[in-house]
Amino acid sequence: MAYGGYEQGGAAPHRHRAIKILLAGGFGVGKTTLVGAVSEIRPLRTEEPLTETSMTVDNTAGVERKTTTTVAMDFGRITLRQDLVLYLFGTPGQERFWFMWDELALGALGAVVLADTRRLADCFPAIDYFERRDIPFIVALNCFDGARRYTAEDVRVALDLDAGLPIVMCDARSRESAKEVLITLVEHVLTVADEPVSR
């Protein structure tokens, strides 16, 4: 394992660390199911557009006439240790919620693209998004009951994914399976981090 000089000593052990993981994929593919299988689901109210409230600096100029629309979403929380907590954000599948992706993706560990082999095209936008932004991701195929099973390689070809990109089968309802998905993602991120940096 290569230890690069750019690793800055690691985090102090007492520091509270919160890490984001994104879960993307088409509507109804099982994102919420997977989050619920492996983490504590917490409700969150947010508003459109999220970025407007997060990017700005001016105290008095922020008064707006327009009413914002409140949107309900969930996130998952996995407390690995008291000072190390994972947050799973299911990026909303509908296009009208895409405004939220940039903020959710900022600083994220990586992403899981959840796919249904019956509707593979639904995850194209998510894959494009993460590829364009160099956000490490894996693909998890949610094996719905009765769905025709394809091999990982069939899917790799269909989605035009690099050979090194992990594609795993999962059952989004199963805690163990959901855990394996997350483990595969973190292992992939570690592998990517060990590769020579060319950016």
């Binding site: 230890y3 509270h16 660390r17 903020e103 600083g107 991120v189 570690l190």
Partner: protein, 125 residues
Amino acid sequence: MPSNDERWLDAEAGPVVRPYALTRGRTRHAGEAFDLVATVTATRARVADPNALAPEHISVLQLAHAPTTVVDIASDVDLPLGVVRILLADLRELGLVAIRAPVSTKAQQIDRNTLREVLHGLRGL
């Protein structure tokens, strides 16, 4: 800071308060932007002027006595994230909370030690 003299809620208002009434119409917060998983910790500084705080400020402050995150606070107080951010920024201005950036603020800057700890933690679930 604008005047806090006006009551933001009275008996006539009924049970529903438009979320941004709590922020006196502000939709943007003061100071440096912070991530939705930024860590918030109460500084335990004395509240110089309790009248400067709305009940929601107090609720948010109480949740931050142990380090927590912006989204966890928003979930606990059941207010929209944008409103909670403004309340947090107010508290920060008053020196009542510290808001620290999460482990990384750009993709792929989580250090390997932390990644290994995450992996270890997940395997142990």
